[in-house]
Amino acid sequence: MTPDIVIVGGGLVGCSAALHLARAGRRPLLLEVGRIGAAASGVNFGGVRVQGRALFELPLALRSRAIWDNLVDIVGTDCEYRRSGHLRLAKTPADLDAVAAYAEKVRPAGLDLEVIDGAEIRRRHPAFNATLAGATWSAGDGQANPRLAGPAFARAARAAGAEIRDNAKVVAIEPVAAGFAVATADGQRVTVPQVINSAGAWAPDLAASLGDAAPGRAIYPNMVVTEPLPPLISCSLGTYGNGVYLRQVERGNVVFGMGRGRLAAPDRAVPSAETSLAAMAEAAWLLPRLAHAHVIRTWTGIEGELADGQPVIGPSPRHQGLFHAFGLSGHGFQLAPAIGAVLAELATAGSSPTPLDGFSITRFTAG
């Protein structure tokens, strides 16, 4: 079967795009340099969180929430997704003012958050540090197992007719009259009218090679997990500012992240012991009962982040038929299912019902 669109990058975004394109009757070919869903998509925190996102992200994020809520119908398995709710903790009164103001701001956009004060936190969560100033509670947010999500979308996409190749490194994309000539490291070459660039931390370089510049960098979020513990907390949580984010999976392990790992070799990141120790101290401050737990593993991965901290999603201003979706660190896991749907709409209908203002790559070049 001759493909009519190439997707570069088999993370959750690329796999979701492949699924939605195949179901729309297209013939996508997905090329993944390593294993499907094994980079940032597979090693991230696993938070499926809408609260905290910028106002312009909310339509996309709420659309994605609807996909997460119906995952079994869409990909045939739940990827351990639980609509557990998410708490955004405020350590100080000033932080509480900030998260409460955010709750006011996003209410008209359809994101319902409950502002709770310190006394209410202590009533609902007696295990937390008693000095917290408050939090906002997002009942519709959740968490899932990132290691399962990308491969699950890929299996569903294959079943729908998508061709998915792993260990397939794209070495060049050349604009030609018929669209784009895509060359892979094994010497194969395919020409297609459309290309989706969902290559994660490697996507900015690919975009730049085609003249679309977006200043970004790779980052390595540092993650820690404890041994299985008795139930301690059922929701996912984060801290306003740059504090710890944490959840307990159903098996009982507490997973948390804060700070960065480091690059050990090109394309290989490793966790940092100093960062892990700082995150462990912060987690023990937040949940004093964790002090008696053991940490069994730390890890990191390579994620892409753009200069303004927001992703790029949408068409190339320079090449008809080229679409970008990257810079998704801190955004991608929750957004990816809907990004795939939106990319399929852009590639097939030329537009999406979901507003994408604010995601355009032109924000880095205009003016």
Binding site: A38, E227, P228, A264, V270, A273, M280, H294, V295
Partner: protein
């Protein structure tokens, strides 16, 4: 200069410390145990009174000599017992011990991290009363206790006969020695085993002693099911495929040893697959030197060859390290050590031939046999991960269904998981890849 750090105080680590002190260095020696000795030369806690001859048998003289020499080093080394190295980074080594958490600047590293039992899942192997073979020896050596009153020993490797002999000598009833290797395997390995006639003679002595004392010894055995809530017996097939049952109240299971290699992994040492030992091992030169990063490996943590080889390798690696630091080295002594290592390697290959790993047990394991006990992953779940989910390698299987993701981080179940993965795909064991190491190499307290 940043101090040399030796990790592990078994025969390799102790010998390395002695050699480095002779070369005028003052290494830091970090060891998890309360007292230096490692596993084979493990010392009981203070106050225990079993004599060396009872603890170490034929190795008593060698063990005592090393213990005394190491103890005599005093403050010529910076010795840190009861301390875990939980992370190695490009510029630091992180410890957890009686002083709490300590960060050391990373100087040259000499890793002598030893080995643990190599396990294979057998139906019921996680029941109370089942111990690893090495664990059952530790119970006897360190605490002076047997794992049961009537103990069966099953698996393969020289330890099988040694521990059964030690148990019998200590007064336990040995219900049976059930060796998965065929009698002919041992005969065919004789030319290689002749590289160490004394050890070969000792192995034959243990076998003869057990038989002479009425202990049933069977070859070509395949263990099937461990019975009882707590162990009451083991069903097994003999070489003629007949079903047998051995009644016992404890079972020691072990299928050889595996090298502990996580710290080498964290230190950035490259690995290569050793088809004889069926494990990815640090890729080092004949003296134990890694290609980069001032890392040296010695003893069973580099490749399993036993205590005497570990002591030799510890000296050799320490000489390499000293030479790399510009210290004068006695090259004649080094060459003699290299010659001994070649003989140890020949003997080790003989042992591997005499006691082949019974990997076919994985083919006949029932779906509900536990593979990874930390995460309660069964053999059937692993078959599903490879068959239906398409897990391409062992790390993918871990990502999909969690073998190796629990407290032991695959140190216990990892090799069996790799072997099973490869067999399910009809490929040689190296094709499963190897579980990536991550800090902490063992659990550390959160606060």
């Amino acid at each position: 200069m940043t101090a040399v750090i030796i990790v592990g105080a078994g025969p390799a680590g102790m010998a390395a410390a002695l050699t480095l002190v002779e070369a005028g260095l003052r290494p830091i020696v970090v060891d998890e145990a309360q007292r230096a000795g490692g596993q084979i030369f493990r010392r009981p806690p203070p106050g225990f009174t079993r004599p060396p001859a009872a603890l170490y048998g034929a190795d008593a003289a060698a063990a005592t000599r090393l213990h005394l020499a190491f103890d005599a080093l005093g403050d010529r080394i910076d010795y840190r017992p009861q301390t875990l190295v939980w992370a190695v980074e490009p510029d630091a080594v992180h410890l957890q011990g009686p002083q709490g958490r300590v960060r050391l600047d990373r100087g040259p590293l000499l890793l002598a991290t030893g080995a643990t039992d190599r396990l294979l899942p057998v139906d019921g192997w996680t029941k109370p009363g089942v111990f690893s073979l090495g664990g059952s020896q530790v119970a006897l050596k360190a605490q002076g206790v047997a794992i049961g009153r009537r103990v069966a020993f099953c698996g393969t490797g020289p330890l099988l006969y040694l521990v059964a002999y030690q148990y019998a000598k200590a007064g336990a009833e040995v219900a049976a020695v059930l060796d998965t290797s065929a009698f002919g395997d041992g005969i065919r390995a004789l030319p290689l085993l002749a590289a160490d006639p004394a050890k070969l003679a000792r192995g034959i002595y243990y076998l003869g002693w057990l038989r002479a004392h009425g202990v049933p010894v069977h070859h070509g055995v395949r263990p099937l099911t461990v019975h009882g809530e707590s162990v009451t017996g083991l069903t097994w097939r003999d070489a003629g495929r007949r079903l047998n049952e051995t009644r016992c109240d404890a079972l020691a299971l072990g299928f050889g040893l595996r090298s502990e290699t996580q710290l080498a992994d964290l230190a950035g040492v490259p690995f290569r697959f050793d088809p004889i030992r069926r494990q990815y091992l640090p890729d080092i030169d004949q003296d134990g030197r890694a290609p980069a990063g001032a890392v040296y490996l010695a003893g069973d943590g580099a490749a399993v060859r036993g205590a005497a080889a570990a002591e030799t390798a510890g000296r050799l690696a320490a000489l390499a390290l000293a030479a790399d630091l510009g210290r004068p080295v006695d090259t004649a002594a080094r060459d003699a050590l290299r010659g001994r290592m070649a003989r140890f390697e020949r003997f080790a290959r003989g042992l591997d031939a005499a006691f082949p790993f019974p990997v076919d047990l994985l083919d006949t394991a029932t779906d509900d046999t536990l593979l990874c006990r930390c995460e309660a992953v069964t053999v059937g779940t692993m078959r599903h991960a490879v068959g239906e989910l398409g897990a391409e390698d062992v790390n993918r299987a871990k990502a999909f269904v969690r073998p190796g993701m629990g407290r032991c981080q695959g140190r216990m179940c990892g090799l069996a998981t790799s072997e099973l993965h490869a067999r399910l795909r009809g490929l040689p064991p190296d094709q499963a890849g190897r579980l990536r190491g991550q800090a902490p190499v063992k659990p550390v307290p959160l606060a």
